[in-house]
């Protein structure tokens, strides 16, 4: 079985269309860039101030003025451009990002998202996440289905919201789920799991799409 994170990242990559502008969150979402098919041209945005984010540089070829929002050395592709943080979030909040892909601590069936704070425990701050999920045309949550067995997809988030009613799609190692006005709809199930397993791993009702497909 392939690495769980790679399974998720590879599936997320299939959601992206030629010409899309995409923002990838830190961690797993960053891996999505490795799975973009040939011939599909994606412009990646880095919220610290540029479009045209490229792969990591070779060892010894780092440019110290060029890091991503996770403070890692990166490169830019031909056609890139740099701008300030106000312009960057103008792009984000203004609906000019086609998809934002990020992890989450919790998502609920109303499309509410909680991924920035665990009161009394972890207070990293929201960074650009609140703006990204409110502004991007499509919000895709890419995460492991549970946190060591503990539900992350819930009826109601228990942690403070990042934003309300913003999530469009959840992609985990178990399946692909769409948030609709009638709750969470399972559209694809990964062949390694049964319907029973994914339902058990989900903390809210999971409607199975009439045309359920295998997640590949």
């Amino acid at each position: 079985m392939a690495d769980i994170k790679e399974i998720i990242a590879a599936r997320v990559a299939k959601e992206l269309k030629d010409g899309d502008v995409v923002n990838l969150g830190i961690g797993l979402p960053t891996m999505v860039a490795n799975f973009i098919p040939e011939g599909i041209d994606i412009t990646f945005q880095s919220e610290n101030g540029f479009l045209g984010l490229g792969p990591a540089p070779a060892k010894g070829e780092e440019d110290i003025d060029l890091v991503n929002a996770g403070a890692q050395y990166v490169t830019v592709k031909p056609g890139a451009c740099f701008f300030d943080s106000a312009a960057s979030f103008g792009i984000i909040r203004g609906g000019h990002v086609d998809a934002t892909i990020l992890g989450s601590l919790e998502v609920d069936e109303h499309g509410n998202l909680a991924n920035w704070i665990v009161p009394g425990k972890m207070v990293p701050g929201m960074g650009g996440a609140m703006d990204l999920v409110v502004g991007a045309k499509k919000v895709i949550i890419a995460m492991q289905h549970t946190n060591k067995g503990k539900h992350k997809i819930l009826k109601e988030c228990t942690l403070p919201y990042t934003a309300v009613g913003v999530v469009d799609l959840i992609i985990t190692e178990m399946g692909v789920m769409e948030i609709t006005s009638s709750g969470v709809v399972l559209k694809e199930l990964h062949p390694d799991y049964t319907l029973e397993q994914i339902k058990e791993a989900t903390g809210c009702e999971l409607t199975v799409h009439s045309d359920l497909k295998p997640m590949l």
Partner: protein
């Protein structure tokens, strides 16, 4: 022309305990380390620092944090500097850090609003979250927005890549981030820059921060400070 060029210690001389200081940079990329170092040396305390993040220990505003010079930090993200949590949770009241978290886009826009003479703006970011607490919700054209207010400072620490003697400044790559807005939103703006050139050497089409915003220029900023 008024001479704006000073040493780092001359530049930070007017800063007193309790000052409100904006510091450019994103995880210390684009932070003027020579100005931070001068402020550490000066030893002023009880500062309010406005910066995207808390840097990392040993870089950027992280240095001020280590020295206990910051009373209040207004930032969007502090997770990559473990000292923040330590100082927020200390039992020594005098050393206790207050941390005010602001969404990154809202932080950038609040600083811009202060510099641009706007009384505030309506943003969809934070509606329905704890960020909305205490804020006015305004319904406009079918949607709810938070009214966010401008954010000013006494001083701004800006990190330029090339600055002319009038203060016109350009920023290289990802070092730009918050610097251009902060340069407009403080009473006194100090640029720590990698290269000082003569007036006229920067193409007027390429200037990002106009020299009129800059009060003091300090040369000798390096591409990287350890």
């Amino acid at each position: 022309m008024i001479n704006k060029i000073k040493t780092a210690s001359e530049a930070v001389a007017p800063i007193q305990d309790g000052a409100v200081i904006m510091v450019g940079g994103f995880m210390a990329t684009g932070t003027p380390e020579i100005l931070i170092d001068a402020l550490v040396e000066k030893g002023v305390k009880q500062l309010t620092v406005i910066c995207n993040d808390a840097g990392v220990p040993g870089r950027g505003v992280g240095k001020l944090l280590t020295k206990g010079q910051i009373k209040t930090l207004i930032a969007s993200h502090v997770g990559l500097n473990p000292e923040v949590a330590q100082r927020m949770n200390t039992e020594n009241e005098e050393d206790k850090l207050t941390c005010i978290l602001v969404p990154q886009g809202t932080l950038a826009e609040r600083i811009r609003a202060a510099g641009a003479g706007l009384g505030g703006f309506l943003t969809p970011t934070g509606v329905g979250t704890i960020v909305a607490e205490g804020k006015q919700v305004i319904h406009a054209e079918g949607r709810d927005y938070l009214l966010e207010l401008p954010l000013k400072a006494d001083f701004a620490f800006i990190r330029g890549s090339v600055t002319d003697e009038f203060g016109n400044t350009v920023y290289h790559e990802a070092t730009r981030n918050f610097n251009p807005m902060m340069a407009t939103a403080a009473d006194h703006v100090i640029v720590g820059t990698c290269s000082i050139v003569r007036v006229g050497e920067i193409d007027p089409n390429q200037v990002v921060t106009p020299g009129i915003f800059v009060d003091t220029i300090v040369g000798g900023e390096m591409p990287w400070q350890i």
